[in-house]
């Protein structure tokens, strides 16, 4: 009995230490979320840097309303239009990327040809490059294609530079599928397109989910392409508009915080509801598919 309590005691103490450390770490990660929430909820009279950590007196949604609709009196442009721009940008670009990636991945996994093992890493390199190294000609070419300064132009850019990662994820996904399945279908007389449509496409939904979450998140969160390709505020995506709002001296910081929360919401919701697939994309991004 005494021996048992003796061995148990140090374990208890270390359990407490483990939980204490975890709660401390959790506090660090949640600190910005706490400030985002309480600041966004404060009324304009309560907004004061020296009372930054105090709870709001009640639920006030004025900051969110100003961040979303803007305010003519203070000449603040709301983020509603830019939020919609990001939707019109991210959804089509995600769909196109996924379709293109699945076709490329299918060929590179199941229809290998001479040189495909060299072609694939050459394509992959495109996802690691600093985009600064392609921006100068990109702007010129988009201007020549009359795509510069439009959402269509941004969709095009995201689809092109999304090719490496979407191809990688689908190639690794299709590589797991037994080649015998393809061989059997070939003997039955099925062609490359038939095999894709009737065999691989129906079982590739998890692959599509991973790729679409990854692309949606990276397109929604992108800033560099947005700020380079779109210069007119009415076509700018959410991140660019939020950065402009945060850089303006007219806009009070509770409105900035409300705007930041609105900008983070779509990808946060995806993370909360589809976190499992988010993790798979993350690991694929480090080439460990």
């Amino acid at each position: 009995m005494t021996a048992q309590t003796q061995t148990r005691k140090p374990i208890r103490a270390s359990r407490i230490a483990i939980y204490a450390a975890l709660f401390l770490a959790a506090a660090f990660y949640l600190l910005p979320v706490y400030v985002l929430f309480i600041t966004g909820m404060k009324s304009f009279q309560e907004v004061n840097l020296s009372r930054m950590w105090d709870l709001p007196s009640g639920f006030h949604f004025d900051s969110y309303i100003t961040a979303w609709f803007g305010s003519e009196k203070e000449s603040i442009t709301g983020l509603a239009g830019n939020f919609m721009n990001s939707i019109y940008l991210a959804i089509p670009a995600t769909l196109f990327s996924a379709v293109l990636g699945s076709l490329n991945g299918y060929v590179l996994a199941k229809w290998k040809f001479r040189g495909s093992n060299i072609l694939f890493p050459l394509m992959l390199f495109g996802m690691f490059i600093p985009y600064q190294s392609i921006l100068i000609p990109l702007v010129q070419v988009l201007k020549n294609m009359s795509l510069y300064g439009s959402i269509q132009g941004l969709i095009f850019v995201h689809v092109v530079y999304g090719i490496p990662i979407t191809t990688l994820i689908f190639r690794n996904y299709f590589a797991e599928i037994p080649t015998e399945l393809i061989e059997a279908a070939k003997i039955d007389g099925a062609g490359i397109l038939g095999i894709y449509r009737h065999i691989l496409f129906p079982i590739s939904m998890p692959g599509f989910v991973v790729v679409m979450i990854w692309q949606f998140q990276s397109i929604w969160n992108d800033f560099l392409f947005g700020v380079i390709v779109t210069s007119r505020p009415t076509v700018q995506p959410m991140t660019v508009a939020l950065n402009n709002m945060a850089g303006s001296y007219v806009v009070q910081w509770n409105v900035q915080m409300a705007g930041a929360l609105i900008a983070a919401l779509p990808t946060l919701l995806v993370f909360i509801f589809l976190g499992r697939y988010f993790m798979r994309g993350l690991l694929a991004g480090s080439l460990k598919g």
Binding site: Y29, V35, L49, M52, L100, I129, I192, N243, Q256
Partner: protein, 332 residues
């Protein structure tokens, strides 16, 4: 026979649009940028007369501005601090979560969710959190929080602090360096800007969940028998980590260094939204300088030179990794 060959043609046709797109938009554009960096195109009007290495020489000299030299110092400081912070914090969190804790899923989500949001959002929020406040209005942000919980001595200027930590020439070590002709090392060009810590904190907040997830997956892959065997041999828990677990996690650490290292070399969004170039360029980085000088200053050739240096530094890190990954895959 005919069937197979037509399938081959269709396969190539499916791949061709992407291959052409990558050939032009990645390799062609890189080539164009590389070429532009040797031209005189430093105004709105394209001028493709070549000037040799002049754009590069200007970056590495202190005249007319030493901004790029400061950027290199900042990038090196940021990368080292950011990598250490992410790896240490990620490893500790993974070890804690590996102790069969209750609510592991919730903790994991709390450590990971910042990865889902934009660096712009992170920058906007942390800029207010680390806003030191002014003498007139009093402290704000975390400084105020420190005061409230009685840790006022931790107050700091954060990203507004222009101090550079470096070896002073009038100290013993400094005089030694000056004596052997290495006075460059005892100057602010070889230092750590205090303001960069603010960027490191925000970036670590966002990215350490990634290392946590990688290490946790690695820890879960280590068979329990290995730990048992070490315990039988009389090793205590700390020795088991030092001699068994950490060596086994080395490949994961290496890929974390490469993935986070290339993100850190390219860091841009966070700088734009959080600090900008900072006091005396203390938080300026090459990616920001390139954007600033190219698209605000119309110095296209100068910007192309910065972009090329940035690309080469990323390629040095990534290309061996890519080749290695492909080779291990081919062996399987």
């Amino acid at each position: 026979m005919r069937r197979v060959s037509s399938d081959r043609i269709i396969a190539l046709a499916m791949l061709t649009p992407s291959v052409i797109a990558i050939a032009i938009f990645v390799y062609g554009f890189i080539g164009f940028t590389g070429f532009s960096s040797f031209t005189n195109w430093n105004s709105l009007v394209p001028d493709f007369s070549t000037v040799g290495w002049r754009n590069y020489e200007r970056l590495f000299s202190a005249i007319p501005t030493d901004r790029f030299l400061l950027d290199l110092r900042n990038t090196v400081s940021f990368t080292i601090l950011f990598l250490i912070a992410c790896i240490v914090l990620g490893f500790l969190l993974a070890v804690l979560l590996d102790q069969r804790v209750k609510g592991e899923g919730i903790f994991r989500s709390i450590f990971l969710f910042p990865m889902a949001i934009s660096f712009i959002v992170t920058g906007v929020v942390w800029r207010w959190l680390l806003n030191p406040g002014t003498v007139q209005t009093g402290s704000s942000g975390v400084n105020l929080l420190f005061e409230k919980i009685g840790l006022g001595f931790l107050r700091w200027g954060w990203f507004t602090d222009p101090t550079i930590w470096h070896i002073k020439p009038d100290t013993g070590l400094g005089q030694f360096l000056v004596g052997i002709g290495l006075d460059g090392i005892a100057s602010p060009y070889f230092g750590v800007p205090v303001a960069i810590f603010s960027l490191v904190i925000a970036a670590t907040w966002q990215m350490s969940g990634y290392t946590m997830a990688m290490f946790l997956a690695g820890l879960r892959g280590i068979p329990e028998e290995l730990r048992e065997a070490a315990r039988v041999d009389g090793a205590n828990e700390i020795q088991i980590y030092r001699h068994v677990i950490i060596p086994l996690l080395q490949p994961i650490t290496l890929s974390a260094v490469i993935v986070l290292g290339h993100i850190s070399l390219k860091i841009f969004d966070l700088v734009v939204s959080m600090t900008g170039p900072g006091p005396a360029f203390a938080t300026d980085v090459p990616a920001f300088f390139m954007w600033d000088t190219t698209f605000r200053g119309n110095n296209f050739a100068q910007g192309a030179a910065i972009a090329t240096i940035l690309l080469v530094s990323v390629a040095v890190l990534i290309v061996p990794y890519l080749i290695n990954t492909m080779r291990t895959e081919a062996e399987l």
